[in-house]
């Protein structure tokens, strides 16, 4: 290849080359976490000391890891269910009904997203401190539902907005009642949006550190565990859990994509 053609090729593909580099950057820490989950590093997993499967065979091997993980999963599931139900109801009210106070409603949904986490965390803590509410498992759930609702509303609203209203009109024309139309037509069409919103709510909850740290009392969660052990070295088992969560999420997304591709034939 002459220099000229090389330069032409580079010019034509500059953006693609850039994208490859950008993705390498995006995935570098994920690759690091995955590689070091196989490190025979003992308690502090900083230097590579050789390959082992022990961490994957016994992810609960390090003290506290699985208690923290269990709490995070429980909190994640409970807060996801609550936030998804509450947020979906709000999304339907906003898109399918007329009512007074729409502006105020939209504002109350927008504001938590425009407020930094540390402010949400501090504000909620002062509420609990003033009312003498002990912090623990349920105060974490309360906090996670609070910051997830807005994201669920936005995600479900976006899905409802893409619906073709003629489908619902057709159902009504075919003598379906309002409830039947909702159950057999509207809801199944919105369901993928609700599923996506739930996945978002779960990952927000599972990953949250700041708000949890302020309102958790003595209850440990996975991010809290990582933060606290950062000072003396994070055990490799934590990397196993991080990598496993990543690959599980990828599988869920892939299955979702396959299902979608099957349901909606191309063309």
């Amino acid at each position: 290849m002459s220099l000229h053609t090389l330069r032409r090729w580079l010019g034509a593909n500059a953006l693609r080359i850039y994208a490859v580099i950008a993705f390498a950057y995006i995935f570098l820490p994920v690759a690091y976490v995955t590689v070091f989950s196989f490190n025979n590093g003992g308690r502090s997993n900083i230097v590579w000391r050789g390959f082992t499967l022990d961490n994957w065979a016994d992810p609960c091997g390090a003290p506290e890891v699985c208690t923290a993980l269990g709490n995070s999963l429980k909190i994640g599931v409970i807060s996801t269910v609550l936030a998804t139900v509450l947020g979906t109801m709000i999304a339907f009210a906003l898109t399918r009904h007329r009512f007074r106070g729409r502006t105020a409603t939209n504002l109350l949904i927008f504001l938590p997203m425009a407020t930094p986490e540390v402010v949400l965390a501090a504000a909620l803590l002062t509420l609990f401190l003033n009312l003498g509410v002990p912090r623990g498992f349920w105060t974490i759930v309360i906090a996670h539902v609070m910051f997830s609702i807005s994201f669920v509303v936005v995600a479900v609203k976006a899905r409802i907005a893409t619906l073709d209203p003629r489908l619902e009109q057709a159902a009504m024309d075919l003598y379906a009642t309002e409830l039947e139309t909702f159950r057999r037509v509207t809801f199944p069409l919105v369901a993928p949006g609700i599923a996506g919103a739930a996945l978002l709510a779960f990952s927000l909850s599972f990953d949250d550190f700041i708000i949890t740290n302020f309102n958790s009392g003595a209850v440990n969660t996975f991010p809290k565990f990582v933060y606290v052990s950062a000072a003396r070295g994070i055990p490799a088992q934590a990397y196993v859990i991080g990598a496993a969560m990543f690959f599980m999420a990828m599988i869920i997304v892939a299955v979702g994509e396959v299902l979608r591709a099957r349901r909606v034939p191309r063309g």
């Binding site: 950008a22 009904h97 540390v118 504000a123 619902e168 700041i210």
Partner: protein
């Protein structure tokens, strides 16, 4: 024939009129969720404001405060923590600019250059989110550490002088912020770039615009809504974040979040912590409103 408008993301269908007797349905749908937000988001804001004016209890016990209206709490906290306050916004501002510079070409490439791989690549942009935020930040700490592989390479290439470290520095904090909030920038940018009609770009080129002129005169203005929401979605969480400063910084990179955390939990100085939280919230709200107005009145349209 009845004309039925086809709804799109920009033009959602008008809400269907509620049938008779269903006037209460929207309120029943709204009440549980809005009540949750009112009690656990709205009410706490009232409490954080009230607490910011409290004074120490006469008992003198640490952590005991009584209601008062001491406005000096604000000026004292603000003056004492001005450097941390400034750093929070400086780091967040630099990280937002860097994230924009990295994300814009990436979003453009995904929108126009990747064809049927688009959806997959979009998922890959958010994929790192599924490993823990803290683990990713720790990973950067170790990648950039002296015993990692970046520092020896940079030193061998004489880019980094001997004796200099990448971790525990403002550079590392900003790099961590940039990395962690990159998807918040990329997705909105993609959403608005993807909507641009490629024929407009061709037209720009046909009218003798070189690629830079087309970018400046056509692409950037058309993607402005994405730029506005992307920068906001990056700047707001970055300004409040303190995990990056804590894990990647040193003692002279302390940001406001760390002060609020330690005021609450180590010094149990609730009024100062509340005052700082309130100042942070108001500052960000004002900045956001000014920014939206400027973007809206001068460049949008």
């Amino acid at each position: 024939m009845v004309h039925v408008p086809i709804p799109t993301a920009e033009h959602p269908p008008a809400p269907a009129p509620s049938p008779r007797g269903r006037r209460w349905t929207p309120y029943m749908l709204l009440t549980p969720g809005m009540l949750w937000l009112a009690v656990f988001f709205g009410l706490p804001l009232v409490f954080v404001f009230l607490t910011s004016l409290y004074v120490p209890a006469p008992s003198g016990l640490a952590g005991e405060y009584v209601p008062a209206m001491r406005w000096a709490n604000y000026s004292e906290a603000f003056v004492e923590y001005l450097p941390q306050f400034g750093r929070s916004f400086l780091y967040a501002g630099i990280a937002t600019v860097l994230a924009f510079l990295i994300a814009y070409p990436l979003a453009y490439a995904i929108a126009f250059k990747t064809g049927r791989w688009r959806n997959l690549l979009l998922i890959l942009v958010v994929a790192p989110f599924f490993t823990s935020f803290l683990l990713r930040t720790m990973a950067w700490r170790q990648i950039l550490a002296d015993e990692g592989f970046v520092v020896p390479v940079l030193k061998a290439l004489n880019i980094l002088p001997e004796g200099m470290a990448l971790t525990a520095s403002p550079v590392a904090v900003v790099a961590g912020l940039t990395y962690n909030f990159l998807p918040f920038m990329t997705l909105p940018l993609y959403a608005s770039i993807e909507r641009i009609d490629p024929r407009l770009l061709e037209a720009g080129a046909d009218l003798y615009g070189n690629s830079f002129t087309v970018l400046r005169k056509v692409t950037l203005p058309l993607s402005l809504p994405g730029i506005v929401s992307g920068t906001l979605l990056t700047f707001i969480p970055a300004a409040g974040d303190y995990i990056n400063a804590q894990l990647l910084g040193n003692r002279s990179t302390t940001v406001l979040g760390q002060v609020i955390d330690s005021r609450f939990f180590r010094i149990v100085d609730y009024p100062a912590a509340s005052a700082l939280s309130f100042i942070l919230m108001i500052t960000i709200l004002v900045l956001v409103l000014v920014y939206i107005r400027r973007a809206g009145t001068e460049d949008l349209v």
